[in-house]
């Protein structure tokens, strides 16, 4: 039973990781690609970790749930990474793709960079 549940979670996780990476390859501009790692890290890795927890729940004596810790770290850091990346992108003037809504905000955001 554990195995089946774990397998399902693993498959889901794998799927989302792949989708994240597909998005990274496919999306047209930097700001859109920025969404990819958060995708991969949140649901993809989360599902795989849950699968792992489920699997080991019955296997090893005592519950080792370091997976939760990994998730915690990722949840804490992934947004900051994304934030830093976008900050840097603004700083280095990577333009958003054509047709981006509110493209005028780009210059507004860059205000603190030009000081």
């Amino acid at each position: 039973m554990n195995e089946i549940i774990a397998s399902i979670f693993l498959l889901i996780g794998g799927a989302f990781l792949l989708i994240g990476s597909v998005g990274l390859s496919k999306l047209p501009d930097f700001y859109m690609r920025l969404h990819a790692p958060t995708k991969a890290s949140t649901l993809g890795i989360g599902a795989i970790l849950i699968g792992s927890i489920v699997f080991f729940f019955g296997q090893v004596s005592g519950i080792t749930v370091k997976e939760i810790l990994i998730t915690l770290f990722l949840f804490l850091t992934a947004p900051i990474t994304a934030h830093m990346l976008s900050k840097t992108a603004l700083h280095t003037k990577i333009p958003p793709t054509e047709g981006t809504i509110n493209a005028d905000l780009f210059d507004k955001m860059r205000e603190r960079e030009s000081k």
Binding site: T77, H83, T92, R112, E113
Partner: protein, 933 residues
């Protein structure tokens, strides 16, 4: 009776006397100096009876048995003759120099060198061990270098000294080779053994080699053609030195060597040819050039060359009588030439010049000296009733009775006669040009006779010329017999006597021809001189010096080309050698794959491999895009870490990951200080060359790697697996190896880390460096120093990271982890704070002396190992036990944990010292780079 070794020892000790006594005045200095040779000569003389009776005195003591070098002296006839010359003439020179040296000259130093030289000469002639002989041989080169260069403010003196050193030194090295070859052939360096092995040596395969090497030594020392050129330039030495070294002693060392080894090396075709022809050539060249020298000492120097050639020629002829004649002429030449040099010195001393074109009519001013000089010159010219005549007659006689060069042997007497005629001519010139003719002009003071005692040495020598010339057998017979027997190996002709008159014979005729011819030559000197003046004058020392300089320049060109200061060249060589050293053995490895079963492939691993290889190649392709290269390195590092994890090395994976991060931070810091634009320094051909080499090396390394992986070897690792828990008290075998089985490695490793931090600290101290004010794309830096959200999360992560590091530390002995990884994690957590908040913010909150971390960490690790020594165990012996604590239960305590704590602290300290310092540099030392803003 004092032992033999006292003879050189006395003069050696005596070399200190002038240094000590010179402050008591010149007389005291000279007397003290002569005291030691006097005793030495007394010792020699006291042995005359024994030696004349054919006995050889010996002394021997072990010195370096491994080398066959003994301290061994012998006193036979030959040695005695030379010892008497060296000491006797030496004493006269000491007396002479007392008056010759001026107040400005450092007399103590001069005498000290002179006695050192005397010691060396005595050492040569008294040696009973060939290596020891060589020892003293080289000492004469050194001491003569000092004596020739005595007036070192003169360029000519410096050059002359250097040239003499180089030429005689080179000969000395050749001699060393010859001596060793002889020693190896005979099986001993003892002269007794060598002298008894004549046939063995002459029949040896190496005979020619040793002969040539020995002759090179002898010929350079005795200024034989074509090595004669150094001797005239040694004339820049003070005249007493010339009188001593360049007539009586040092140049005779070569002759002595020929005589010494005569019994074992002569008697072969090669000896005859080489020695005779060299001697003849030298005889002629020396005599010819002497005639044209305007410098008194130059004339005498070339005359010496010529006479040395004569002696050599005699030794080459190979007959008993020739050898005796050689010995005889050694004595005669020493006597008349020393006196002539001294006379020349007096003239120089009194008139201030030695140029025969200036000197003239001195008879009027110094008749006494003139008389002495004339007698000595006459001896040099071979005038009857003087000693020079006797040996020259013998020489002529021997040149007639030889067949050295077959049907051309007649040339030897003919050329000898020509040489003799030249000798007569230059002797005439010496006398006539200097003492006769018009009154001397163009000199400052009116010349007069030298001080009384300055003349004494000359007088003694001239008297010797006369009495040896008139009563040869009575006066010189004994020593001549003793010395010649030594040269001939005991085969002294029983009925031989030196006598003044042999009747009218061919030699007498030759003498007469020489006399007449010499006179004729001198009469026609004007034409000869004008003929000679058409040749360009070449100064041998200039030529030699220029030659050495030229050689040096060629060498410089070579070195600058070969060691051109290019690291790339050096590394290329290293890599090339590496390639050669691996390729050569691999060519004999027939099958690369071993028998060990291979692991199956799978998609994940292949993807990893693709990632790795693509990234590595991309790193090369984009290495000039620095940040990109760095990111690619991260990819490689990540894959390598995952590979470690995959192949059962969790510890390695963790270590690699954490080291990776620190490295990236470090490289990022570095990037900031390195030029933003990387030049492409390589030409296309170099790129192709380097690519080929690197592909080959990669191929070889990969092949070896594959061959190793696919072969099983019985290793020692079972021991670690078996003893990790029981002996080391841990289940993480790798960690137990690190902190226990091979704790010594780890001790070294953390020391390396600590030292690296110290070194980097040194590097950073005082570094001044320009930093760019904008990125490479020209975008000025962001004004947001510490992005808010980044700081907040970094802060939040700190306790977490520290907790993780403690966990990793504590479990390391049993599960993947340990002090090193934990230390890195802690350090990274702190670095993260530095990145997020900046150095100043950190300094306000935390004041850690990272140096203390390093030193206490290292001290803990070092002293943990010391404990067991007190318990009688070896260093680093570990201890572990299970201790029951109330509430907590049984806890394992291990000394290895303490050791690991040392590792932990050192790592934190080292990493932080490096990074925090480098970070600090940027704030304290901001110089904006020009042109990049």
């Amino acid at each position: 009776m004092l032992n033999l070794y006292w003879i050189p020892l006395l003069t050696f000790i005596g070399s200190l006397a002038p240094l000590v006594t010179q402050k008591f005045g010149r007389n005291a200095c000279a007397s003290a100096t002569s005291f030691f040779p006097l005793i030495a000569i007394a010792i020699v003389i006291s042995n005359i009876g024994t030696v004349f009776s054919g006995e050889t005195l010996r002394f021997s003591a072990q010195w370096v048995p491994a080398l066959g070098l003994d301290l061994a002296f012998r006193l036979d006839g030959l040695a005695m003759l030379f010892a008497l010359l060296i000491l006797g003439i030496g004493l006269l020179v000491i007396l002479y120099a007392r008056y010759y040296l001026s107040d400005k000259d450092n007399m103590g130093q001069f005498y000290a060198y002179l006695l050192l030289f005397m010691t060396a000469m005595l050492g040569i002639v008294l040696s009973n061990n060939l290596l020891q002989l060589w020892f003293f041989w080289e000492l004469t080169s050194i001491s003569s270098f000092l004596l020739i260069g005595y007036w070192h403010h003169k360029s000519e003196a410096r050059k002359g000294a250097r040239m003499a050193l180089a030429v005689t030194g080179a000969g000395g090295l050749a001699l060393l080779g010859g001596v060793i070859l002889i020693g190896q052939t005979v099986g001993s360096f003892s002269l007794d053994a060598v002298l008894a092995s004549g046939d063995l040596l002459r029949n040896s395969d190496h005979y020619m080699v040793m002969l040539v090497l020995v002759l090179l030594g002898a010929f350079t020392k005795s200024a034989q053609f074509p090595f004669h050129f150094w001797l005239p330039h040694a004339m820049s030495a003070p005249t007493p030195v010339s009188a001593y070294l360049h007539s009586a002693t040092m140049v005779k060392a070569g002759i002595f060597l020929l005589a010494r080894l005569y019994p074992v090396l002569s008697g072969t075709e090669a000896w005859f040819l080489i020695v005779t022809l060299t001697g003849l050539m030298t005889l002629l060249v020396g005599a010819y050039v002497a005639l044209f020298k305007h410098d008194l000492k130059g004339l005498l120097a070339y005359s010496t060359v010529s006479h040395l050639g004569l002696i050599t020629l005699l030794l080459g002829l190979g007959s008993e009588l020739a050898a005796i004649a050689a010995v005889f002429h050694i004595i005669n030449h020493a006597i008349f030439k020393a006196s002539l040099f001294m006379a020349a010195g007096i003239i120089d001393h009194e008139t201030g010049t030695r140029d025969m074109r200036i000197l003239s009519g001195l008879w009027r001013y110094m008749p006494h000296t003139a008389t002495l000089a004339m007698v000595a010159s006459a001896s040099m010219a071979g005038v009857p009733l003087l000693n020079g005549f006797l040996s020259k007659e013998m020489f002529f006689a021997e040149t007639i009775h030889q067949t050295t060069i077959g049907s051309l042997s007649w040339m030897i007497p003919v050329f000898s006669t020509i040489g003799a005629a030249l000798a007569v001519a230059y002797s005439l010139r010496f006398i006539h040009d200097v003492f006769f003719g018009d009154d001397i002009k163009d000199i400052a003071n009116v010349p007069h006779e030298p001080p009384r005692y300055m003349r004494v040495p000359v007088e003694v020598l001239v008297v010797l010329c006369l009495i040896v010339g008139i009563f040869p057998d009575f006066f010189i017979g004994g020593i001549l017999k003793a010395a010649s027997s030594a040269v001939l190996g005991g085969a002294y002709p029983a009925d031989f006597h030196v006598s003044l008159w042999h009747g009218f014979n061919l030699p007498l005729l030759m003498s007469a021809i020489a006399m007449v011819g010499g006179l004729a030559l001198y009469m026609n000197r004007e034409r000869l001189f004008s003929f000679q003046s058409r040749f360009p004058e070449r100064n041998a020392s200039e030529v030699f010096d220029a030659g050495v300089k030229q050689l040096r320049d060629y060498f410089r060109i070579f070195i600058n080309w070969f060691e051109n200061g290019s690291l790339q060249r050096g590394l290329f060589f290293i890599l090339l050698v590496a390639l050669a050293m691996t390729i050569v053995p691999l060519t004999s490895l027939t099958t690369t794959a071993g028998l060990r079963p291979h692991l199956p492939m799978n998609t994940v691993m292949v993807s990893g491999a693709i990632l790795l290889c693509v990234s590595a190649v991309a790193t090369v392709a984009w290495h000039h895009i620095r940040l990109l290269a760095l990111l690619l390195l991260s990819v490689v590092g990540l894959i390598v870490s995952v590979t470690f994890a995959l192949y059962s090395a969790p510890d390695l994976a963790l270590t690699q990951l954490s080291v990776e991060v620190v490295t990236i931070v470090l490289l990022l810091l570095a990037l900031h200080f390195l030029p933003q634009v990387i030049m492409n320094y390589s030409s296309p051909s170099r790129i192709v060359r380097d690519l080929s080499l690197s592909v080959l090396i990669g191929g070889v390394v990969g092949t070896v790697n594959y061959a190793l992986m696919t072969r099983s070897t019985e290793t020692i690792s079972w021991f670690f697996t078996e003893n990790a828990k029981t002996g080391g008290g841990g289940t993480n075998i790798v960690n137990v190896i690190l902190v226990d089985f091979r704790g010594f490695d780890t001790l070294g490793e953390i020391t390396v880390l600590g030292i690296a931090a110290l070194g980097i600290y040194k590097l950073i101290a005082g570094m001044r460096i320009a930093m760019p004010a904008a990125s490479a794309d020209g975008i000025p830096w962001s004004s947001d120093k510490n992005p808010l959200m980044f700081s907040v999360i970094s802060q939040a992560l700190l306790p977490l990271a520290i907790m993780v590091s403690l966990y990793i530390f504590l479990r390391g002995h049993n599960l993947p982890g340990g002090g090193f990884i934990a230390g890195l994690i802690t350090a990274i957590a702190i670095i993260q704070q530095y990145i997020a908040h900046g150095t100043q913010w950190m300094h306000d909150r935390i004041k850690i002396n990272y140096l203390t971390f390093i030193s206490s960490g290292l001290l803990i690790a070092l002293t943990t190992g010391l404990g067991p020594i007190l318990l009688g165990k070896t260093y680093l012996t570990s201890w572990h036990d299970y201790v029951a604590f109330p509430l907590i239960g049984k806890v394992e305590l291990a000394s290895a944990m303490l050791f690991d704590l040392g590792v932990y602290l050192t790592v934190i300290g080292a990493v932080m010292l490096i990074l925090a310092n480098l970070g600090g540099l940027t704030t304290s030392n901001r110089i904006r780079e020009e042109g990049e803003s």
